[in-house]
């Protein structure tokens, strides 16, 4: 009940502050998820992390130099050091033997370390609390002023505009930079532009999420979105939606308890969205592939059961019904799975339950015959056409019999000229 009223309080915007926070989260989602999609596809997610950590000394320096908390001034400082770190990463990778990942790690820790030193210094002057500078570390959405929101709006507007204008260039740069260069695109310019936009997105986002976790705002929404779509435009839109959703949820939690920093909650929420996508996304999700495997397993179980019944009937043409024990004796199977397969086959009308066991129906017998036929045809194919010894073909046929389509079966039969016997001299039933 308390929760419900808090939710309704929150979303009725009775508190004007809530409106600012939500607007801030919208702009944060737009700017970081849009640009993050390209960083993600270019496999440059770590670059975003380096930038995020490197803006801290810039913010502190700007504060020390100009003695103001005006966001534009602080953003200017953030921009300078954020850019500088990426510039250094670039130089170090090109001029030394240090590889990109190490260079990024070095830049990240050096700049962040410097930032913490400066922040501690500012705190010791007793100024940090009222300046709210420590909020830049883990983010405090509630501390955003209307002016800050306007700044975020302008910056995310710029980012969206540039991405729309350069959409096809950024796409090609992400997919095939070498081809882009070969076809004469200004690669250097485009890369610089993307880095600049990333720095901008980070700089406006840190107030809400904080420098420590800002990179997650660039990475997690696109990572979640990638599971749901194979279209780049849809992926950008979806990742913006995920970014905003995560932002709302995180802001709400930090609203319910004022001591909660916003950043960790927002990032936890977007990470949950990734986890959810990883499990639930159609096709690519774990649940979907688990279901697919399970269905296939059940199909194999049913087909093997029909096959066993067919084999038993082949062996004892005088009998109609066979017990589970007889089936288990003929083929080693998990009794639980056999019982399940039999239930399913009865439901499908392929097998009938009698007093003294189970009996194949006409349709069940046809299907059992088909599986046995494919099995023996495949064994023929392997021995005749592939020169594999007759005692080496059974296991392969066990797997292949469940996947061969009627068209392939026909081709196979024609290729082998409709043989009567398999390599083990068993009759191939037609």
């Amino acid at each position: 009940m308390i929760l419900l009223s808090t939710i309704s309080d929150f979303f009725s915007f009775s508190d004007p502050n809530v409106l600012f926070v939500l607007a801030g989260m919208v702009f944060l989602g737009i700017s970081s998820s849009t640009i993050g999609t390209f960083a993600f596809l270019r496999k440059r997610s770590l670059t975003g992390d380096a930038i995020a950590h490197s803006v801290l000394p810039g913010i502190c320096l700007a504060f020390l130099l100009f003695d103001t908390r005006n966001l534009w001034v602080l953003l200017g400082g953030a921009f300078v050091t954020g850019w500088l770190s990426i510039f250094l990463v670039d130089i170090v990778t090109r001029k030394s033997r240090i590889k990109t990942d190490a260079a990024i790690g070095i830049a990240l820790s050096v700049f962040f370390g410097a930032g913490i030193v400066l922040l501690t210094y500012i705190q010791q002057t007793g100024n940090a609390g009222q300046s709210g500078l420590n909020n830049f570390l883990l983010g405090k959405a509630a501390a955003m002023s209307p002016d800050d929101i306007i700044t975020m709006m302008v910056v995310s507007g710029i980012i969206v505009l540039v991405v729309v204008l350069f959409f096809k260039e950024f796409t090609l740069l992400a997919f095939d930079p070498e081809y882009a260069r070969a076809s004469g695109m200004p690669i250097r310019f485009l890369e610089t532009l993307l880095t600049t936009l990333t720095v901008m997105a980070v700089a406006v986002g840190i107030q809400a999420v904080g420098v420590v976790l800002m990179a997650a705002m660039l990475i997690t929404p696109p990572a979640a979105a990638r599971f749901w779509t194979n279209n780049l435009k849809k992926m950008v839109l979806l990742s913006v939606a995920f970014g905003i959703l995560g932002g709302f949820m995180g802001a709400f939690i930090s609203y319910t308890d004022n001591r909660m920093p916003t950043g960790p909650w927002v990032v936890t929420m977007t990470s949950l969205l990734v986890l959810f996508s990883l499990i639930a996304a159609p096709g690519k999700g774990l649940a979907a592939s688990w279901l697919l495997r399970r269905r296939y397993g059940e199909k194999v179980g049913r087909e093997n059961t029909l096959k066993v019944l067919y084999h038993l009937k082949e062996q004892h043409p005088e009998r109609q019904t066979f017990t589970m024990e007889a089936m288990l004796q003929r083929r080693s199977m998990d009794p639980v799975k056999l019982a399940r397969a039999l239930r399913s086959l009865i439901k499908k009308g392929m097998v009938v339950r009698q007093d003294n066991g189970y009996q194949l129906n006409t349709s069940g017998e046809e299907e059992g015959k088909r599986i046995v036929r494919i099995h023996r045809l495949w064994e023929m194919y392997l021995t005749e056409k592939m020169n594999i010894a007759a005692d080496h073909v059974h296991d392969d046929a066990e797997a292949i019999e469940h996947i061969i389509t009627p068209e392939m079966e026909e081709k196979l039969a024609r290729l082998l000229d409709f043989p009567d016997k398999d390599p083990h001299n068993k009759t191939i039933p037609w």
Binding site: F175, D176, R181, S183, G184, P186, L232
Partner: protein, 263 residues
């Protein structure tokens, strides 16, 4: 042996390219006539891809230069189409077959401009030429190797260039696709296009190419196939590494000072 072409479409002058100071190409010098199908042939590590990249301006020469249609590559990029190795990109990218072929039109439309309906039509025709028109909406991650290769070729066709440079378009594809692609290259040659292909199979090389470049870090031969495709040159190309060159190359890799003065 180098046989020169009269009005060359591509000419390389004393081209030397190295990676980490170790030369991958050494003093390569040749010229190619227009409207022929050229094969760059050589063993692994012979510098074939490096040569294509140097011609495209993607690898920077330590010395020497390349002219295409008589000009530096940067002035004629619109007339030159490049087909990278298909392994050079991550095919798990959110794009359809059509999206990738349309990338061949980006440069023509220029920065900030939208593609037209005519671009899509052209892309469709290019896919038809490589026999991929039924896959137009297919997600690129679901393509087989041969299909990926054909999509890359269709993208180059969409550039409507005069010169085509292809890096190993026949690597890891089935015989039918190879046949399809070679037929297509033959048709392109009939239309007067100049095509340079990095290739590793000697048998099909003799069958399909008009002009052959034999390469093993050094240029072994360049000319019409009947002049170049002879046992002596082939032995030189494939008969082990050229010993002196290799050992000097390794020395250079260890050298701490710059190899050459900057020009």
């Amino acid at each position: 042996m180098t046989i020169r072409a009269e009005h060359p479409v591509i000419e390389a002058h004393d081209l030397t390219v190295s990676y980490q100071r170790k030369p991958a190409l050494w003093g390569v010098d040749f010229s190619l006539p227009a409207g022929v199908l050229t094969g760059i042939i050589g063993p692994n590590g012979a510098g074939k891809s490096t040569l294509i990249k140097a011609i495209m301006g993607l690898a920077h020469p330590d010395s020497g230069y390349v002219r295409i249609l008589g000009r530096p590559i940067d002035e004629v990029r619109e007339k030159v189409a490049y087909v990278p190795q298909r392994g050079s990109v991550d095919w798990d990218f959110p794009a359809s077959v059509l999206d990738v072929v349309l990338m061949g039109r980006y440069r023509k439309r220029g920065l900030l401009r939208k593609l037209h309906a005519a671009d899509k039509e052209l892309a469709f025709h290019c896919l038809e030429k490589v026999g991929m028109q039924d896959f137009i909406k297919r997600q690129i991650s679901q393509l087989s190797g041969g299909q990926q290769q054909r999509v890359f070729i269709a993208r180059a066709l969409a550039q409507q260039a005069e010169v085509y440079l292809m890096d190993e378009p026949f690597a890891g594809i089935d015989a039918t696709t190879e046949q399809t692609i070679f037929e297509l290259l033959g048709e392109m040659r009939k239309e007067g296009k100049s095509i340079v292909v990095v290739h590793h199979d000697l048998q099909s090389a003799y069958k399909y190419f008009d002009w052959i470049i034999l390469l093993n870090t050094q240029l072994i031969g360049s000319g019409p196939k009947s002049d170049i495709f002879i046992p002596e040159f082939l032995r030189k190309t494939y008969g082990g590494k050229l010993n002196m060159l290799t050992s000097v190359g390794e020395l250079m890799a260890e050298l701490e000072a710059p190899l050459r003065e900057k020009n």
